[in-house]
Structure formats: structure tokens, C-alpha cells
Amino acid sequence: MAEQPIEPIHQFRINNLFDIGTFGGNGTPGSGTHLAFTNSALFMVLTVGLIMAFLILGSSRRAIVPTRMQLMTEMSYEFIANMVRNTAGTEGMKFFPMVFSLFMFILVANLFGMFPYFFTVTSHIIVTAMMALLVFFTVIIYGVYKNGLRFLKLFVPSGIPWPVLIAVVPIEIISFLSRPLSHSLRLFGNILAGHIVLKVFGGMVVALLGAGAWGIIAIAPFGMAVALTGLEFLVAALQAFVFAVLTCVYLHDAIHPGH
């Protein structure tokens, strides 16, 4: 809450590092689009730079006997490639660059956020919603381009008597339309909740240390904060994988719309 001295959502504040300028509008204050380079943008650039450095350094000297760096690069490639093949099918491999980019961006952004005082890009719904909408419209556009009107078979499960279809088809349509919502909220909610919980336990340590001789029990929330940091590393990797798996499942629907 805003009244408390240690504010758990302070870490998600966006600061303008330098202004670029205001575009459009009619000159009055508050009109037009104000562009600025924010700390969020800075960490997105750092994330992309780190991924590029990792992949370029790892694959620059393609040795038969790989170095550790090359091994890590090849492992991350193989991991996602196998996942795409198993989940979306061999035809889904043409979407491998998109899935790999999404996975690496989310993974590195999540892990970046685990450093103290670093900004977590994926804790803002605007970032996750853009990635989820990208997947959503890719599925619709590719599904219609590849299957034409047969794409609508996605909403009509086969082998079901027609009286049941009256109830099932609206449910299928609603569940399809709510995909970008759940896809983006899952990543956003997990990262936001994890970081708030870490800050709440950190705040408990500070509050208990100020309690005189009873400050010794501050060791309990401190141990909890250490354990939760470990859990957050698991969540960071798991949520990146979950986002990639769900992308592949949705792409599978676009390639094979019949159930």
C-alpha cells in the first residue's frame, strides 16, 4: 500500500532516461505522442544485445569438438527445435525462428530481472500482451492463409452430435478469443507476483530488525527470501518454456485446424 514506507511495487516504476520528443498533437500540453527512452527500453536493448552476443560468440567458430560456449548455444537451439517438432509438428518448423526468439527474449529478460535493482521487462503487461497478440494474429493469419475457410473447423470438434454443437461452438470461440488474454497474463502475473513476494519478505526483514532484541527472528523471513529467490529462477525459466510451448500448441491449431 502507498502508506507503507517499503513499497513493493516501486520496483516496477518506469523512468524516462532521456526524452526523444513529442510527435503530433496540436501544441497544447498533454496532446500528441511523447516518446522517451525509458529504463524498460534500456533493459530490452540489453536483453537483445546479450542474446545476440551469446549466439554470435557461440556459433562463430563452428568446431567439430565444440567449446563450452558453442555447446550451450547448440543446446538451446536443439532444446527449442525438439520442442517445436514434438508440439507443432514438422510443418511447424517454419515458425522456429519466431518461437526461438520469443523463448530467448523472455528467458533472458526474466533472468535479468533477478539481479537486485534491475528492471524486469516482462513484469509489464504491455510487453507480454504485445508478444501474445503477435502469436494470436500469426495463428489467425497463417491459419486462414493456409486452410482458407477450413480454418473455422477449429471451432467445430468432429464426432459430436449437432445438438451438443450448439453449446460447444460458442465455448470454443470464447476460449479461442481469450487465448491472448491468458497467454499474456500468465507470464505477467507470475513475474509480477514473484517480485512482489520477494520485496514483501525483504521488507519483513527490515521491519523485524528494527524491533530490538526480537530482531533475531528476522532470520526466518530472510531464509524465506533466499528460498524464494531460488524458486523465482525456476519460475523464470519455466514461464519462458511455457510461453514457447503454448505458442507451439496454438501454431499447431493453425496448421491442422481439425480436431
Partner: protein, 79 residues
């Protein structure tokens, strides 16, 4: 009771009630992992091939818990 205090009280109680929904998601995630484990112990050879199905089911179930968490955050910080 003045209106501001009543509003704050309503926000906090509402956020607490919204978090009850996460219990249901907890039960669901427990069922998924428990059933995966019992299935994996019966047939360990097939366990690895079902791992991405496990993660998919976990993600879909967990989203419902996240929805109630988001409602709690909206009540706390956005109302």
C-alpha cells in the same frame, strides 16, 4: 465510519477474498502433477514423452489462479 476508510476496508477485504480463488488453482496443479507422477511410476518409459503435455496442463490450470491474483492486485492498486 468515514467513506475513505470504508473504501480502503472494502478494497482490502475484497483483495483477500479474491485470493481464495488461488486455492482452486492449487488443487488443480496438485492433481496434474500427482497424476503425472503416478502415471510416470507405472510406465517410466513413456514419462519423458508426456513432459510437454504436463507443462501445458500446468500452464492452463495455473492461469486461472493468476486471474484471481490479478483481480486482487487490481483491487489493491488500481481501484
Amino acid at each position: 465510519m468515514d467513506p475513505e476508510a470504508a473504501k480502503l476496508m472494502g478494497k482490502l477485504i475484497g483483495a483477500g477474498i479474491a485470493c481464495i480463488g488461488m486455492g482452486g488453482a492449487g488443487v488443480g496443479v496438485g492433481v496434474i502433477f500427482g497424476n503425472y507422477l503416478s502415471g510416470a511410476l507405472r510406465n517410466p518409459a513413456a514419462a519423458a514423452s508426456q513432459f510437454s503435455n504436463l507443462i501445458f496442463g500446468f500452464a492452463v490450470t495455473e492461469a486461472l489462479g493468476i486471474f484471481s491474483l490479478v483481480i486482487a492486485f487490481l483491487l489493491l492498486y488500481a481501484v
